[in-house]
Amino acid sequence: MFKDLGIYSAATLSDIPIDVIPSVSGSVLFTNPSIADSQPVEQVHLKRLEELLELSDGWDGYEAPRPNKQAISQGRAALDLLCAAGYPPTDILPSAEGGVGLVFRIDNRYADIEIFNDGEIIGLCAEDGSDPITWEITGPHSLAPALSKVCSFVRRPPRWDVSKGTITEPNI
């Protein structure tokens, strides 16, 4: 179901103005200057992360744990990567399992990165009417590719391949 997603071709990519900017982690991101000016959106999301830290246990009316500082911090790191590249998430939500989620919704496609309070991270891509795909995101260098994957899935251009300075095509 997810094999033919209109993956961005080289021709498509050549139409996108690309700059190279340093990321918060010291690696390099490719970005589109026409859409990278997401400062106001980033501020909204940063404020949202602060709000989530104020939640109490049971915020869902049942027994959901509040997001802890570690999850918020990891969410902030992911948000920095996304905003630096000009692709902020649609929203940031508390997880009913304890943690935070960066969610992306464009038309009938949905994706998220869920960061749990214990540090585990899981990605999800879903298209209306089909079964969602989930995968574990493990290791310190797997977050950026996972973010690229979800951004690509919701039909945004792939962003970074930091190690070699090339754009990685998504492989969902």
Binding site: L55, D91, L93, A96, R105, Y110, L124, P132
Partner: protein
């Protein structure tokens, strides 16, 4: 604010009834944060099974707000919305699925649970992989219908 419970909520001498119609509604509460998540059809703020619901055969929708949650909203699923198809992760010898079970409480006869079955059996303490739970949470969120928005 706490209110008196309707007479129909009390279990009294009634036994559990494990027969469910596929179209039978299941109700539970939601807060403003949960509503925000459902607005994106996101499973992030959606509880993973095992979780409690009121079954519609024995409950009015607003009974989930009793006795003291009247500022919260109401969500509905149908029994057929609960994914009963088994999920077996790659390289796993386990199969996971969900089931709805009538589990009455003395003051809430309609109380039921959406439970995980691991290899066809229920174990309250079963360790369910998060990738599996996340998939089901997303499916449930896509099928949930908000009947009443929270007021606070």
């Amino acid at each position: 604010m706490s209110v008196d419970l309707p007479d129909g909520m009390y279990q009294r001498e009634r036994s559990p009834n494990q027969t469910f119609d596929q179209e039978e509604p299941l109700y539970w509460r939601l807060t403003t944060e949960s509503l925000r998540s459902l607005g994106h059809e996101s499973g992030i703020a959606f509880r993973a099974p095992n979780f409690s619901v009121n079954r519609g055969k024995y409950s009015e929708p607003n009974w989930v707000l009793l006795p003291s949650y009247t500022d919260q909203g109401i969500v509905r699923l149908l029994v057929k919305d609960v994914p009963t198809k088994e999920i077996s992760p790659p390289e796993s010898r386990y199969r996971y699925a969900c089931a709805v079970v009538h589990d009455p409480l003395p003051e809430n006869y309609s109380h039921s649970e959406v439970r995980w079955l691991k290899n066809g059996r229920y174990d309250k303490d079963a360790d369910i992989p998060r990738t599996v739970k996340k998939k089901v949470r997303q499916q449930l969120s896509q099928r949930a219908v908000v009947l009443k928005k929270p007021s606070a």
